[in-house]
């Protein structure tokens, strides 16, 4: 088990570096750099701009810049944000919590509605429940999350006099107000995944309910409740979990947009600010961090398989 985890962790490293490298070089293509942002208020002569570039190492050959970045990242130093005048690692440390909280709760939320919806839809196939759930999932898949976010903000401010909080409260400091703040963003982020996952639960359940062992279980006289939850659901969950693993990437994409809609100070808001400021190190740093989060989540999901299905052993 531990051997397996360590091997998987080692496999994450090249992927993350390739991803970082890709974005590193892509951002070097664009014209304009951090110096033009820093001196955009005017007053800077070309000479002083050039000097600043020299100081920041922007005139170094790209190979030198890249090896510096690579060496730094290997040592856990993601570089320096000249725009915010702080280390990237520090800024990430400040902002990662909001992003992670939102992403994880959105995932939990989508699983929490996907399973009941999918199960009801499969068990009562063809009923009004099924029809209703299918219409709901089809709509949820079609509504763009940022628009849903805007509508939720408007609705909440109309009905509950709710307004976007200015300061982010940590979940660990005050879970109540944190949830009050993240409630709507969680819905906006998680609803698409909920729809996708519930469709998958439905089709998996339909497949499993046809199996012989389900018929046997029913023939034994087990209660329907137990047949569905213990015999069918367990076997239907593996593909759903796999999907939930890879789908976390889509959730992270959603978080990036939703953070901007709801002004949540997380990595998604930061990456947009940094992109416009041409703050390369910061952008690449966030990409690296998001990649690590995604890889770690997929690993956790893979480890959950053995909980759901004890036949699965890792070696």
């Amino acid at each position: 088990m531990w051997k397996y985890i360590i091997r998987r962790l080692i496999l994450i490293i090249p992927t993350v570096f390739l991803a970082g490298t890709l974005v590193f070089f892509m951002l070097r293509v664009l014209p304009g750099d951090i110096v033009s942002t820093l001196t955009s208020e005017g007053g800077a002569t070309n000479e002083s701009k050039e000097k600043l570039r020299e100081e920041l190492g922007l005139n170094d050959p790209i190979v030198v810049q890249y090896s510096k970045w690579l060496w730094g990242t290997l040592n856990g130093n993601l570089g320096y944000s000249h725009y915010q005048d702080r280390f990237v690692t520090q800024i990430v440390k400040d902002k990662i919590e909001a992003t992670l909280t939102l992403a994880i709760f959105a995932m939990v939320f989508s699983l929490a509605i996907a399973f009941p919806m999918g199960i009801i839809s499969a068990v009562k196939r063809g009923s009004w429940w099924d029809q209703g759930i299918r219409i709901f999932t089809a709509l949820s898949l079609a509504v763009p999350s940022f628009w849903l976010g805007i509508l939720l903000i408007i609705f909440a401010s109309r009905v509950f006099n709710w307004s976007k909080p200015v300061i982010y409260t940590s979940f660990f400091a005050d879970p109540g107000s944190n949830m009050a703040q993240l409630f709507l963003p969680i819905i906006a982020t998680g609803i698409t995944s909920a729809a996708i996952l519930s469709r998958l639960v439905r089709s998996m359940m339909l497949e499993v309910l046809r199996e012989d062992y389900v018929r046997t279980a029913r023939a034994k006289g087990l209660r329907e409740f137990i047949v569905i939850l213990r015999h069918s659901l367990r076997n239907a969950s593996i593909p759903v979990l796999t999907m939930a693993g890879y789908h976390f990437g889509a959730i992270l994409s959603g978080v990036v947009v939703i953070e901007n809609v709801f002004s949540i100070p997380g990595l998604g808001q930061q990456i947009l600010v940094s992109i416009f400021a041409r703050d390369y190190d910061m952008v690449v740093g966030i990409v690296v961090v998001l990649t690590v989060i995604l890889a770690a989540w997929i690993l956790i999901i893979d480890l959950l398989y053995s909980v759901v299905d004890p036949r699965i052993r890792y070696s």
């Binding site: 992927t15 079609a142 763009p144 509508l151 089709s203 992270l252 947009v257 992109i275 966030i286």
Partner: protein, 304 residues
């Protein structure tokens, strides 16, 4: 003139073909009534966007003087602003029609490009195996490891905020998934006898890939395309909404929403109209895509 004549003769229907098409349409209608309705709605939207200039007397990027006019606001000089006007006094209805061009172009071209690139890569990898396959797979994994929207952001920011860059950015996000799917499909095909036969009579690798593997992979190709159209439209709208997709004044359903929420109290249609258009088009294309998948992939029939 004679050449035109030849063109016409070759275009005259092969006996049996129109009837086959008709049977196909009527069978599709009977089996998938909701998908047929979806196709009709999509066609109306597509026609509307193409003929925006004919349908609406207004120009999309011109200010007409009535700022933030409500629904059915009469124009200052002529016509009626069906959906009112925006902050600059531009006609919203026209801007939505024209913005639809962006969404539909992106929705059709981005997945086509992405799936084609991904499919070729995946099929090539599966066919050659070994190092080629390994490199392509690692690249696929890398692209899948970055959240799609973040990848798209990095591309638009480095290449510019226009239609073709947005298409490329979305295509890059779709390609790895196509590569995975088509690779596993091609692995099965590779061991088929006709591929072996092709090799035995000395067909080149290029010929086997392009003439045998690619044409036999069209069903998953179409299915992936149908599933990803809505996806691409939503990503484009999100990018444009964040200000890193299609840049104003060119209108797109995403960038029409940028500051719309601030005017919600008096002009809620500024928020509703573009969002509803995205939802309707994505919903219809998903319904159509599901029906298409149902027809082309019999293994999935009845599962969904």
């Amino acid at each position: 003139m004679s050449q035109v004549g030849i063109g016409i003769t070759t275009a005259t229907p092969v006996p049996g073909l129109p009837q086959r098409t008709m049977t196909f349409i009527s069978r599709f209608w009977r089996r998938h009534p909701s998908a047929s309705v979806a196709v009709v709605i999509l066609s109306i939207v597509v026609i509307g966007t193409i003929f925006a200039g004919v349908i609406s007397p207004f120009e999309p990027n011109k200010a007409y003087g009535v700022r933030l006019g409500g629904l059915l606001e009469p124009g200052k000089t002529f016509g009626i602003h069906l959906l009112g006007t925006d902050t600059l006094g531009r006609d919203l209805f026209t801007r939505i029609l024209v913005g639809g061009r962006v969404s539909i172009t992106v929705g059709l071209i981005a997945p086509t490009v992405g799936i084609t690139i991904g499919a070729l890569a995946g099929i090539t990898g599966a066919y050659f195996g070994g190092l080629t396959d390994l490199i392509i797979q690692r690249l696929t994994d890398t692209l899948m490891a970055i959240p799609g929207l973040v990848m798209a952001m990095a591309i638009t920011i480095s290449l510019g905020f226009n239609l073709w860059v947005v298409i490329l950015a979305i295509a890059v996000g779709i390609a790895p998934y196509a590569s995975r799917l088509l690779r596993s499909h091609a692995l099965v095909l590779r061991s088929m006898q006709y591929i072996e036969a092709g090799r035995a009579i000395g067909a080149t690798n290029q010929r086997i890939i392009l003439r045998h593997l690619v044409p036999n992979s069209w069903a998953p190709w179409i299915v992936m395309l149908a599933v990803n159209v809505g996806n691409a439209i939503v990503i484009e709208a999100s990018l444009s909404y964040l200000g890193i997709g299609i840049a104003p004044p060119t209108s797109s359903w995403g960038n029409l929403l940028i500051r719309a929420a601030s005017y919600f109290t008096d002009n809620p249609h500024l928020v509703y109209a573009p969002g509803l258009m995205i939802t309707i088009v994505v919903l219809c294309s998903n319904i159509f895509g599901d029906a298409l998948r149902d027809m082309l992939d019999p293994r999935l029939r009845g599962a969904d």
